[in-house]
Symmetry: D3
Subunit: 131 residues, 6 copies
């Protein structure tokens, strides 16, 4: 079962990369520029990247987007955030968004467990940007 969750996350990474490449191949200026803005929004600035990835994580949770939650969890774990910090952020999302968020909280814990195990084992690089 744990293998199933690892396989789900691996498939997400591969599909996301394939699909983003497909979208960018359309060479639509607006879409390309938006993808760049999206990546830049999480770079170190007045707030550091760790804080901004937590912002992206909680925004994704309250908007109830599993793929976006997975993406920001990947970034958060790569930036060194601890399980305790992630759970506190997820709790903020739960309180803001209510019980309708719970299925996505379940999904988030599954993904977090896979990522923290990967990090403990020394694998799990951050993904290239965009959504």
């Amino acid at each position: 079962m744990n293998d199933e969750r690892r396989a789900r996350l691996e498939r997400f990474r591969q599909e996301r990369e394939r699909q983003n490449a497909r979208i960018l191949s359309a060479d639509h200026l607006g879409i390309k520029r938006f993808f760049n803005l999206d990546t830049s929004a999480y770079h170190d600035g007045a707030l550091d990247a760790r804080t901004k990835e937590l912002l992206g994580l909680v925004a994704s949770l309250v908007l109830r987007c599993d793929d976006c939650v997975d993406y920001h969890l990947i970034q958060c774990v790569a930036l060194g955030l601890s399980e305790e910090e992630l759970i506190e952020a997820l709790n903020v999302g739960l309180i803001v968004g209510g019980s309708i968020v719970i299925p996505h909280l379940r999904h988030a814990f599954d993904t977090m467990d896979v990522l923290l195990a990967e990090r403990a084992a020394g694998s799990g690089d951050p993904s290239p940007g965009a959504g």
Copy 2:
């Protein structure tokens, strides 16, 4: 016009206090406990209160709730966050939530300007908790 925005924020504070007191006067156990959970979610813990208030701010912005944005801006400014930090958080909310967020971004800048002016003038205490 600036007076108008200051008056709007002052009215929000007073109405929010009156209405929360009315709700709690109903003495409904579930509602009271939820209000307590809501307050606790932003206390210092594995993440500090500043980070958590930023999480609340961005969650409120992407869910497009002006009153919630105002409440978290009040807390953020009371906790010492700078204009630059707030704008970077608002930008994350804009990118996640898109142009539909812009009217709420306009509202947020108005509120932020009032609050930062209040802070510079030495007024503007944090509000007691709950949404």
Copy 3:
């Protein structure tokens, strides 16, 4: 202040009636039929009108629409639901929808207080249908 809330609700009733009449004057078949479907959805059937208006109330609260909350509260109070029953329904909406719902809960309590006072005083007829 209580006068202010009574005036707000009275204005809502008048504007809603004026605006619905304007919309229907356009004589668009799809819109007219949708308005009819909307009215019929809350009539007694396998579930009674009281239960259905509660469903409309909670749906409106979690979708965070103040006007829709006001409309269904008007119907609920006209159908004889008690303050305790309404608060329990609002609590379900709060738990499902989270703290982002709180500003609308504040609005709902204000409207409920006006309507219950009207009912105790013997006024406050149900509105004709449609959203």
Copy 4:
């Protein structure tokens, strides 16, 4: 195909139980208390549990959460609500939420059919609480 839908629902029950246990194992006070509030919100009170589960069902439908719809359908069927009553509640959700709800209505009918067949065959216990 009917087997496929039964298997989907069975998997939902098992995964939900496993994942909720995982979340609660984190022993986060805010999350645990929220889960308790969520369970309590649907207990008999000023409104009975049947009405409250219908409220949860329609709130879940208009917020377009398949897992939440499935959970509340499980509870509704265990509490003895009939197909006619469930369909009337789903219709309220469809009218409030519009055609964007239709894919979730399709999902809900599939789940309802499995649950009503289970009930007719004498199986299908209610699930323990939380989202």
Copy 5:
């Protein structure tokens, strides 16, 4: 009352212009670029500006943002769309989004009536871009 609606729309135009200028004065690169992308998205291209403004109008209606609806109605009327065309687009938004959209439909008809009267009288220029 008609004067009231004309005054509301005029205030929206002025406030929107003042607030957008304030936001851009912060000179945040991400925000400025997003505002540019937002403006460009509605320029003539593979689809003409009229079609794209209708897309923006319906997207705004189903996301239930009155200010965004007003903005796109201003553009649509300036681009020559007729009352019949606008109502058909609004009907699509109503069907997709359901009765929760109705309060925003009421707002939209009020705005549309003011704008069509302005156009018939020979006033009412399109606004400069961004949300």
Copy 6:
């Protein structure tokens, strides 16, 4: 992998047809009438069907419903819209809805690629109506 996406779309078509038939078999007047209204909303009128299907597509994208996006893409491709036109419409949805829309944009490009390949090969009829 391309086969996988074709199979996904084929399964969507079959399941949608089976499930819509099941819903209509319940013979609930409100639901049946809503399905009819939904179908009619996209017929030629003051706006042509092509424009209206684009409206449905963008509304579905900003509301982040993959099944609805697939349905309207099927109709758009059957009505002869080009890849360039579809991408411009999708870009409007991306800008309005922000990065939270990106996972659904990825899904939409996959579906669009299958449908355009089907059209080039001379297959791919429009689906019968309703959501």
